[in-house]
């Protein structure tokens, strides 16, 4: 009798575990179909889109719960530098971009845990209302632990390794096209310990 009860209980537990694992796998596989790559920047069409079914809804909720609709804002993430390496606070980078066909934009630096880096530099974000392009039509911002002589700065102090940048483009115009030319480029300048 006890063996039967244990066998039924084991079957149910195994079923729940299997069902949960297959659901997680389905969402992982499904969300990859929403990703688009523009150079080093990735964009998830799930963020801010409308659900068309239970799987899509679950993916959207996981990737962009309470996000602005795609009509209001587009989100792009960058986790690698121009050499394909993970972003590291021991390195200094230059972010170069130009104006977008949009009403407003910002770039924010997040630590590996997806929260703002734990520092008091008040330099987690730059935005179009405070950034002016140079004579060549491009703006330049330094991504580093110290500002130095840079006009615009994103502080990576205490961001450690595997931090990321998020570009938000608000009210993109119809002409807005995301591609390697329009999106900013991140170049690694130097790293501590490099000769």
């Amino acid at each position: 009798m006890l063996r039967r009860v244990l066998a039924w209980a084991a079957a149910i537990v195994a079923g729940v575990v299997l069902g949960g694992a297959s659901a997680w796998a389905a969402l992982e596989i499904g969300r990859s179909s929403f990703f688009e790559q523009y150079g080093a920047w990735s964009h998830s069409r799930a963020t801010g889109s409308s659900a068309a079914g239970p799987y899509t809804r679950a993916i959207i909720a996981r990737d962009g719960l309470l996000a602005l609709s795609a009509r209001e804002a587009l989100y792009f993430n960058l986790t690698r530098d121009d050499q394909g390496e993970a972003l590291d606070e021991n390195c200094t980078y230059e972010l170069v971009g130009r104006a977008f066909d949009a009403r407003w934009w910002s770039v924010t630096l997040y630590a590996e845990d997806s929260f703002l880096a734990q520092n008091e530099d008040y330099a987690a974000s730059i935005d179009s209302s405070h950034v002016s392009p140079g004579a060549d039509g491009r703006w330049r911002a330094r991504v580093a632990t110290v500002r130095g002589d840079a006009n615009y700065w994103l502080s990576s102090r205490n961001a450690r390794r595997d931090f990321s940048l998020t570009l938000r483009v608000y009210n993109p115009q119809r002409d807005f096209r995301a591609d390697e030319i329009t999106l900013p480029t991140l170049t690694r300048i130097s790293c501590l310990g490099e000769s």
Partner: protein, 174 residues
């Protein structure tokens, strides 16, 4: 059916049911957590003006430091609600999210320069007399979210004053 096969079949049937239950429940669970957090301080049907996003902000991942947020966890159990968003001198938007996480309504300052005023009713229920723009919520509970562009401390403080005039309350006929 005898032997171990019935247990295998039972495990497979439970797995299929669990799979769809997880997929169905995941967004509702995440919204449930958001609703309980947003209603913790003020309860339902009241705006909460969020603290400025800083490195200490840990409630929502990838928070945007560019915005001043006002959130209202709503509940239509006792009838329609009036929701207003006071205009702001830069970008602002009012978004509504159902309990299953669907973003079913959004309006921004380009469409509503003078601010937004809506009457929120449960889908399928008759709207009240004298209601302003009627929006139907697919679920009894959900979240209203106002975002005001405020990338620095001065604009955040100004937004906090403007947000005091926002309304998220039971509908009353004028």
């Amino acid at each position: 059916m005898s032997g171990w096969r019935k247990y295998v079949w039972a495990a497979i049937i439970v797995a299929v049911m669990a799979h769809f239950a997880f997929i169905h429940a995941a967004p509702r669970f995440m919204m449930g957590v958001a609703l309980s957090r947003l209603s913790a301080a003020t309860g339902y049907n009241a705006w909460t003006f969020a603290d400025r996003v800083t490195p200490l902000s840990r409630s929502i991942v990838r928070p945007s430091p560019d915005f001043a947020y006002s959130a209202c966890a709503y509940d239509l159990r006792d009838g329609p609600l009036t929701i207003t968003a006071t205009p702001w001198n830069a970008y602002w938007s009012l978004s509504l999210y159902a309990a299953n996480s669907d973003n079913y309504f959004v309006v921004d300052d380009r469409e509503a320069r003078g601010g937004a005023e809506i009457t929120l009713v449960r889908r399928g229920r008759a709207p009240p007399e004298g209601a302003a723009q009627i929006v139907e919520s697919p679920t009894q509970r959900g979240v209203a979210l106002i975002r005001r562009l405020a990338p620095d401390l001065d604009s955040y403080n100004a937004a906090s004053h403007v947000a005091r005039d926002d309304v998220c309350a039971a509908f009353t006929a004028n």
